[in-house]
Symmetry: C2
Subunit: 160 residues, 2 copies
């Protein structure tokens, strides 16, 4: 009760909420903008997947390993991506079992736009907080986050 000014005690439960809200607002803004730029169907999970496919393409099994899910789940994701025109499967001449998943030009475009938009969003934060302070936040998070949590399998985690 001593200092009603300047947000008193910080409670433990606020921290995860703030982090999540920050993540969420970035992702929401990204997808809003992405939708206006010709990619209305992209969902957060697809972003992770396309990132994992990359410009060289991967097999479904390898994609599963990168995303931390089973090859079956990865295969289903590729199906949806393919249905939306973001990826396609092509047989591999060398190994008749393999089918390489590759991003279509449309997929590559979505990825490139996302990267640019993330830069813009970060710049907005920097405008509010100052580059200095934003940097401090990033550095702090990097110090406190175990690198084991720093992977590309967000989609899998979310679905628990």
């Amino acid at each position: 009760m001593a200092e009603p000014e300047r947000a008193g005690e910080r409670h433990g439960f606020e921290l995860p909420l703030l982090l999540f809200a920050g993540f969420r607002s970035l992702i929401d803004q990204l997808h809003t903008e992405l939708a206006e730029r010709g990619h209305p169907g992209v969902r957060p999970a697809y972003g992770f997947a396309m990132q994992a496919i990359g410009r060289d393409g991967v097999t479904a099994s390898e994609l599963g390993r990168r995303l931390g899910v089973t090859k079956q789940a990865a295969g289903k994701t590729v199906d949806r991506l393919a249905a939306l025109g973001y990826a396609e499967r092509a047989g591999d001449g060398v190994d008749a079992r393999r089918k390489v998943v590759r991003l279509t030009p449309r997929g590559v475009d979505a990825l490139a736009q996302s990267a640019a938009l993330f830069e813009d969003l970060r710049a907005e934060w920097a405008a509010t907080l100052g580059e200095e302070r934003l940097r401090e936040v990033e550095d702090a998070l990097e110090r406190v986050v175990p690198k084991s949590a720093f992977r590309l399998d967000g989609g899998a985690w979310l679905a628990g």
Copy 2:
């Protein structure tokens, strides 16, 4: 190329990853600890739901509104919570349509333990970063996060 020291340029895509990783590591640690303290079955989504039920109880419809999902989805969540012994339904004497969902003592315990654990986890971060710096991170996030993103419907958002 001027300063290879001190983590060069920060890229836009790192920010959401850092925020998510931070959130994720807190939630993972919470549930690991929770499991060791007699609540192995609790999943992140249940945490949101139990928080929304609160100590007074709510109807399924109201729960749905709080969580940002349909009443049907809320009802299913209550089913799972009830199956695990964290919540129970009771008829309301006044309005024969209503069935109030209440936390069981076990549910209340899970909620209380979670709150305590979140305090512990925040304290760990404070030990690494310093209370000062952690506070700066929290304040920065609060400034930059639109309060509209600061809701209790995380579960619904995750499932897209």
